[in-house]
């Protein structure tokens, strides 16, 4: 059986953090400079009592509106902001959404590459007859792990969730994948404490990273320059591999959507790979980097605003924490 993306929705928490508010917390930060450089004006943040599963629930309700939810026969939840160590958030969500009980459901732990992997899993489940209609959810609340005095990460990340329905179809609209993993970079984007190796430490020391950001080992740590180096290295290669696997070229691709890390990084990659500006998505003004949610948010924006139209071949590329990356081509 072949597969296609039926529809996508997303949900952002109500609370907003603007660049002006950041400027008040960090007087040396310049609101306009942030927007110009990284393309972010504001980001949405969860409240203390709001979780990724809450966002996932809201996004799912939106996508299931006007859709027979009894058709859903697999639920995938991509998140790194889990409700509990166990059980899987996907199981809780199956019940909250009132989905059938004779369906499969599980979580998987990926960040910025997560949507691409979700499409790969969905496609292969449909192809093998395990499922017909998959509900793929990505949900991220990195901001819960960011230290209040961490200027760089507070600027970059926002919270959000997306829900996408992938259906079996007569025509294949999710083409071949190229995936990649390099665990050597695992320490460059990490929350060191709070798992079972290093327990959450209430006395964890505050460390100034020398560029005006303070955090402890309980918080999200990102080595920005190293992550940038990784993307410069991995993204051009995975795009070439994906194009080759699909026997196509960049010229034959109608539109390109990268994981929206920040404006500067994706614009640099665009120029390096020589993707024409009019075929390239670069927009995170009101969301910031929402990790596994950026690609489906972008996709919905492109469809809703007719930036892409039926029949267009769209290249999707995700890359980040792990390191983990992947690319595929979809037909709208």
């Amino acid at each position: 059986m072949k597969s296609r993306i039926k529809k996508s929705e997303y949900y952002l928490p109500e609370k907003i953090l603007t660049n002006q508010e950041l400027e008040k917390i960090f007087p040396e930060w310049d609101a306009e400079k942030i927007e110009k450089k990284v393309g972010i004006r504001e980001r949405h943040l969860v409240n203390e009592n709001e979780t990724a599963l809450d966002l996932a629930f809201e996004a799912s309700k939106k996508v299931l509106k006007n859709y027979d939810k009894n058709k859903i026969d697999f639920l995938l939840l991509c998140t790194q902001s889990t409700e509990y160590y166990l059980p899987s958030g996907a199981c809780i969500l199956q019940d909250k959404l009132g989905l059938r009980t004779n369906i499969g459901a599980f979580d998987y732990n990926l960040g910025c590459s997560g949507f691409i992997y979700g499409l790969a899993i969905s496609k292969s489940f449909i192809k093998s007859g395990i499922a017909n209609n998959v509900l793929l959810i990505t949900a991220s609340t990195y901001t819960k792990h960011i230290h209040p005095k961490d200027k760089s990460n507070k600027t970059m990340f926002g919270d959000g969730a997306t829900a996408t329905i992938i259906e079996s179809s007569d025509q294949e609209s999710i083409l071949e994948f190229s995936l990649g993993t390099d665990g050597r970079g695992y320490k460059n984007l990490i929350i060191l404490n709070g798992g079972l190796k290093n327990r959450y430490d209430v006395n964890a020391k505050e460390i100034d990273d020398g560029s005006g950001s303070i955090r402890t080992a309980n918080n999200l740590f990102m080595n920005g320059p190293e992550i940038f180096n990784f993307t410069i290295e991995a993204v051009p290669i995975v795009i070439n591999q994906c194009l080759a696997k699909n026997h196509t070229t960049l010229e034959e691709i109608d539109y390109v959507i990268f994981h929206q890390a920040n404006k500067f990084i994706i614009e640099y990659l665009r120029k390096k790979i020589k993707i024409p500006k009019d075929k390239f998505y670069n927009y995170l003004l009101h969301t910031g980097n929402t990790v596994s949610a950026t690609i489906p948010i972008a996709l919905k924006d492109c469809v809703d605003n007719r930036i892409v139209k039926t029949g267009d071949r769209v290249l999707l590329v995700g890359y980040g924490v792990g390191y983990s990356w992947g690319a595929t081509i979809i037909i709208i």
Partner: protein
């Protein structure tokens, strides 16, 4: 690359308007130098010189000369 050209590129990268750079300028003393500048410098060096600097390298950088030494003096005339 000529050292002067590198100084111009760097000045453009850091969006400096009034400050004149020389090899002894300490990058960390510049008001414009922040975590985003590091990404810009990495991009400029990748683009202009085809070299990749690691994130940790930047911790030890002080003057522009120390940046040039890290890139490798063979890249400069």
């Amino acid at each position: 690359m000529k050292t002067n050209k590198f100084l111009c590129e760097l000045s453009e990268t850091l969006e400096l308007e009034e400050i004149e750079l020389n090899v002894n300028t300490n990058l960390k003393d510049l008001e414009e130098y922040d975590s985003l500048s590091v990404l810009s410098i990495i991009a400029m060096i990748d683009e202009q010189l085809g070299k990749r600097l690691s994130g940790n390298d930047f911790n030890s950088i002080t003057t522009i000369k120390s940046l040039m030494e890290l890139i490798g003096m063979d890249s400069f005339e």
